[in-house]
Amino acid sequence: MAVQPTIASAPVVAGQDFHQDTTVKMFLLGAVGYFAIVGIIALIIAAKFVWPGFLGTISYFTYGRMRPLHVNGMLFGWLLAADMGLAYYIVPRLCGVKLWSEKLGVATSILWNIIIVSAIFSLLGGYQKGLEYADLPTPVAILVVIAWVMFGVNIFATIATRKYQQMYVSTWYLMGTILWTAFVYLTGNFATLLPGVTGVNQANLTWMYTHNAVGLIFTPAGLAVSYYFIPRASNTPLFSHKLSMIGFWSLAFVYVWTGAHHMIHGPISQWLQTISIVFSVMLLIPVWAVVYNFIATLKGQWHQLSDNISLKFLMSGTVFYLLTCFQGPMHSLRSVSAIVSKTDWIPGHAHMAVLGTFSFMAMAGVYYVVPRIFKTTLHSEALANWSFWLFLIGGLGMFTSLWLGGFWQGWQWNNPAIPFIDTVVALKAVWMVRFLSGIIIFSGIVLFMFNILSTAIGAGQRQTIAQPATAKA
């Protein structure tokens, strides 16, 4: 297939050999592969909501095994692996030096793949801890800690040898990701298992981990990616670096306290609930700092979205980020939580954060990076556009059906005259919409994977072009 280079996929030859990028390639291609595999699991789960007997007699495909595999596979197999791969790409370039150790990076990638394969087999086999987002058996969780230390050492050592004193905001966010992940992951996977940590205390720690897995792992990683690729993909300077730093430090201060808002009206202290609500509302400060910065950066450049696949994903992700971070503070309020807590609203919210926001940002990075590290052009711009629209349409179908269904579910649960089983039957139509939306999203995943793998595999067969003259704003 003849491919014309465009702004989104133009290979840049000059200076590229400075970076080896083997680690980036291994992480990104692995992540894309796992995205597709776990997407199948997601479809099976969505089908089970509509047809509860579907594959119900096969133990490996029961809901109790499929759901942890879907959650952990998407979080660690796809999204975190993609963010790590992009971090290995971004940090050396922002620091003006090579990655501290390519060998250590490759070893980290190999270990990460061992972890994901171990997780697949153990979760399918029913070996899990039964804690939200922390289902992985302890030996596998220990391997995650080791891999994270290897990743952290490599990134921090690269930053320590940087050419420039002042660091760009993406570097700050990635440093935050590494440090926050360390204590968040240890809390959720190990502190919850300590003697005496049971009942409400364990639930409180689990929600601290679960919420901060999104807020202090995927949020800073996703924002680091966006802060790097929005200016690079649009060839436009960031609106304000000062504002980005205010956003970073306010996120660092605010986010950690918000997890308990999942236990509003639960058996925890009122002061803890109130603190979680106050800090959840305060989240609007860093969120607005980020969103305003991204939107202001594209002032006068919105026309680039028409033919720039990375920007399409990035700016759609930004809109979803605004929506999901408006949702979060609102449903942490006691009056709203009384309706939506534990309903389908919550998975709708979680999917908009992890898929709509941070996966969109990661896919934008992958679409930008893969042609460059393989020194080629993207296999197909048309397929990339198709994948974007499938993700967008499927995602909107899933998010809105779950929000509306969740509200409806909550109103029914608040009416003691309605038997619980009737509220389950009533939602079947909502779950059908989710299943159909899932098929659309999965089609997007397949096109994304095919396009990226074809770009990598066919790299040697396509022509590379010299870098055109550049202009700066």
Partner: protein, 63 residues
């Protein structure tokens, strides 16, 4: 004993204290390193010039 003096609450007070200390430390450090001064916008221009070179300027992009 009430909610504000319950024993486990003091742990939260301690965490708040640590965070406040960290915030003050990094605020002062940021001031010293120029993140909030006249040079604060320098990194956003430099990142467009990293060793990858630049993307071709879009024909419709305003310069």
């Amino acid at each position: 004993m009430n909610d504000a003096t319950y024993v486990s609450v003091y742990f939260s007070y301690f965490l708040f204290f640590l965070l406040a200390c960290g915030a003050i430390f990094f605020f002062v450090r940021s001031l010293k390193d120029g993140y909030l001064g006249s040079d604060s916008e320098e990194p956003k221009y430099r990142m467009l010039h990293d060793d990858e070179g630049d993307l071709p300027t879009h024909p419709r992009r305003m310069s």
